[in-house]
């Protein structure tokens, strides 16, 4: 351990929901996207799943809203160090979309792409089984554009860069393919409980 002379730090507030190296951002919700926030109207939004599926499908705003509603109530963790507790996102579970396209047994990974061209890769197992959502509401209100509105992916058990903003689609693959930050040195999976921030962690 490399103790820094004279550094004591903030009073320790033990929080079982706080992964290692993270702090509680409280009311703050920092924005860290690397591109210009797109001016994307709900009417121009679409979401497609293709690749290794039986029936590739594209949903528009109304068709996506016709699927059974589902919400995530819980915490989110950003790789830059902040965590946010007790957030509520409203949308549809990805399972409902997968039920329509029917993933092929050979599919192991997905690449999520934004309407900006931003991409991020995830194991298929991380976005099925009630662990991932397409959301358009935050705290009961429309999701603000700088936070990914009109609709974003939310995969709350992984660092939040995996939760692609302005989500445009998922492509199912039989192998892993690095996305935008993963190709820029970030970890392939990004599990906050194992502090998988950068490749090699």
């Amino acid at each position: 351990m490399n103790v820094t002379r004279g550094f004591t730090g903030r009073p320790r507030v033990p929080h079982p929901g706080l992964p290692p190296g993270q702090y509680d951002a409280g009311e703050d919700w920092p924005v860290l996207s690397a591109e210009v926030t797109p001016d994307l109207a709900p009417a121009d939004w679409s979401f497609r799943i293709d690749g290794l599926v039986e029936r590739p499908h594209t949903w528009n705003w109304d068709a996506a809203h016709a699927l059974p509603a589902s919400a995530y109530d819980g915490d989110i963790h950003c790789v830059t160090g902040w965590s946010k507790f007790g957030v509520r996102f409203g949308g549809v579970s990805l399972d409902a979309f997968f039920a329509v396209v029917r993933p092929h047994v050979s599919a192991t990974h997905v690449v999520a792409a934004s309407h900006t061209g931003y991409t991020t890769n995830l194991p298929l197992a991380d976005v099925t089984g009630g662990r991932a959502w397409i959301v358009w509401e935050y705290d009961g209100r429309p999701l603000p554009s700088e936070h990914g509105g009109p609709a974003r992916l939310v995969v709350p058990h992984l660092y939040f860069w995996k939760s692609a903003k302005w989500i445009a689609g998922l492509t199912l693959l039989d192998h892993d393919e690095p996305g935008f930050w993963e190709g820029n040195g970030y970890h392939g999976r990004g599990n906050p409980w194992e502090e998988q921030r950068y490749s090699g962690d």
Partner: protein
């Protein structure tokens, strides 16, 4: 050092990974292409020794660190820095690298003093030469400028830090590639690196300015003349500062005709 660097220009981030025929308006918005850098150094924590502290403004100071094993960086990149308390408690933050890559085994960071800031507070009140901290990096090739393309830099407050690395790099290497910087500060006293800014820089003061100099936010009128002088190949724009500034400045650029896929943004949160 720059020889570990390869750039892939402004090609789409990952064309193969894009859902094909997704019905998405593929060209209206876009992330700029990758600038890929060597990643070996990023995961290793290294001890950095503080060698010098230089006051820049009443609220900002530059901290020079000796990092003997530093692998080199590109202007615009940042690092992760951590402080450790005697009980093992760790605070880690990201900081942009202010110095140009110079192979000296030293790097410089410039920190704003954030009220009650855990890490910046330690630097501004406790730190003295001889102290050690830990760093890992450099990180993120996305906001890097290899010096290979015309650069239009927009920053506010401490957002000027990674941009200054680019300005210093261009000067230090005697590069002739066009570079312009537009920086916003509250007042001349709060303008970081003011003595070092040259002809490439235009300043905007938001709270107070010398007599005869206008006071106010960055506007379209500041951006338009820069976009009017289009260098061959066009500008690669780099925007850095608070999220509020990043949103404002990037909108000004888009409105003035700068292509969205040639705007790189570093938000300090």
């Amino acid at each position: 050092m720059t020889d570990t660097v390869t750039t892939t220009g402004t090609a789409p981030a990952h064309p193969r990974a894009r859902p094909t025929g997704s019905g998405a308006p593929a060209t209206r918005f876009a992330v700029p292409g990758r600038i890929s850098v060597s990643e070996q150094a990023a995961t290793v924590w290294q001890t950095a020794m503080l060698t010098r502290i230089r006051r820049e403004t009443p609220h900002a100071a530059t901290f020079r660190l000796a990092v003997p094993e530093w692998a080199g960086h590109l202007p615009g990149q940042h690092l992760m820095l951590r402080l450790t308390a005697p009980d093992g408690y760790v605070a880690q933050r990201h900081y942009s690298i202010a110095s140009a890559p110079d192979g000296s085994g030293h790097i410089e960071l410039t920190l704003d003093r954030v009220p009650d800031g855990e890490v910046s507070g330690w630097f501004h009140t406790v730190a003295r030469p001889g102290d050690t901290v830990e760093v890992r990096g450099p990180l993120s090739g996305f906001f890097a400028w290899p010096g290979d393309r015309p650069a239009l830099l927009l920053g506010a407050g401490s957002g000027v830090v990674p941009l200054m690395s680019m300005v210093r790099h261009r000067r230090g290497r005697g590069l002739t590639v066009p570079l312009r910087m537009l920086v916003s500060a509250r007042s001349p006293e709060e303008l970081i690196y003011s003595a070092e800014l040259g002809e490439e820089t235009t300043t905007v003061f938001t709270r107070s300015a010398p007599q005869g100099v206008p006071v106010g936010r960055m506007t379209a009128a500041h951006v338009a003349p820069l976009l009017a002088e289009q260098p061959p190949g066009g500008w690669e724009a780099y925007v850095c500062g608070s999220n509020g500034f990043a949103e404002h400045a990037s909108r000004l650029l888009v409105a003035a005709g700068q292509p969205v896929d040639r705007i790189r943004i570093e938000r300090f949160g």
